[in-house]
Symmetry: C2
Subunit: 165 residues, 2 copies
């Protein structure tokens, strides 16, 4: 595992159970994202069962990578836009309002996939990102995510195990 | 399990390993779709680990449901448009070219989800579908899928275990 601290490693415990990127979801994918200059990068190697047609990666997994890398990058971008240090805020988590995924070519199994996100817009509670997913240096998928800051009706209630903001 | 024959039950063995809907993928989701008049319906109950924020369903799983219900319905619609009987053709499988998912409201965990697809267009190798995903009768997600008939470069080679078309 990459030893660096990923965006998702900073999520408060009570919102760190996402199947895609939550460090506290034992069955989850554990998608992790990092800055690389102005872009954010995520590397993920699918498991053998993440197949579509044999030899190629399942489109729903690719959509999940675009999705969680997008919301993670949105949180990091919003932190950065406010001049805040990740992990110092009580709650700062984004969810997906809209997801667009275009499958340009079949994505091969058996190699690491690189997902790159570019922040197109940070405005109020909304962050818009454009993404690419590549295998062996070739872009296989393009994505677009509109992420919004966690709405109040999704926020878990405060509890002794999850300190209130 | 629903005892009826689903669209996906008709997929030839060598293209029935999809993580989302392949009956031959032991780790997969086994998404299954059926006609209900002019619409196609899929019912799916997420597992406890398919969570986003606790209490709500993971968006990547919702995208996967929209995706596989869409390609399954595309195959069935193409069959129907040609007047063919599902399961009588040597190979007839669709993959996703483009997927749009709009998350209108959080989707609650712990209840069956109903996905409905409407065929908007069948033209040549392409089928366009619009979809809704509901929980407790309320639409939580809207989707749009552009599905295309399996391109030649994704088709598995013929083998003794998978009769050639």
């Amino acid at each position: 595992m990459d030893e660096r601290v990923a965006f998702q490693d900073r999520y408060p415990d009570d919102v760190a159970h996402c199947y895609g990127c939550g460090r506290l979801n034992a069955q989850g994918l554990h998608i992790r994202s990092f800055w690389d200059g102005e872009e954010a990068v995520c590397t993920f190697t699918p498991s053998p069962w993440h197949t579509a047609i044999p030899g190629f990666v399942y489109g729903g997994l690719l959509a999940s990578l675009i999705d969680c890398h997008g919301t993670g990058t949105a949180a990091a971008a919003a932190f950065r836009a406010e001049g805040a240090v990740p992990g110092t805020e009580p709650r700062f988590r984004f969810v997906t309002a809209s997801l667009q995924v275009d499958y340009l070519r079949p994505t091969p199994m058996g190699v690491p996939l690189e997902v790159r996100a570019r922040v197109e817009e940070v405005r109020g509670r909304k962050v818009v990102l454009s993404e690419t997913l590549s295998a062996r240096g070739e872009i296989c998928v393009r994505g677009r995510v509109v992420a919004v800051r966690l709405p109040g009706d999704m926020a878990p209630p405060a509890s002794p195990a999850s300190p209130a903001p």
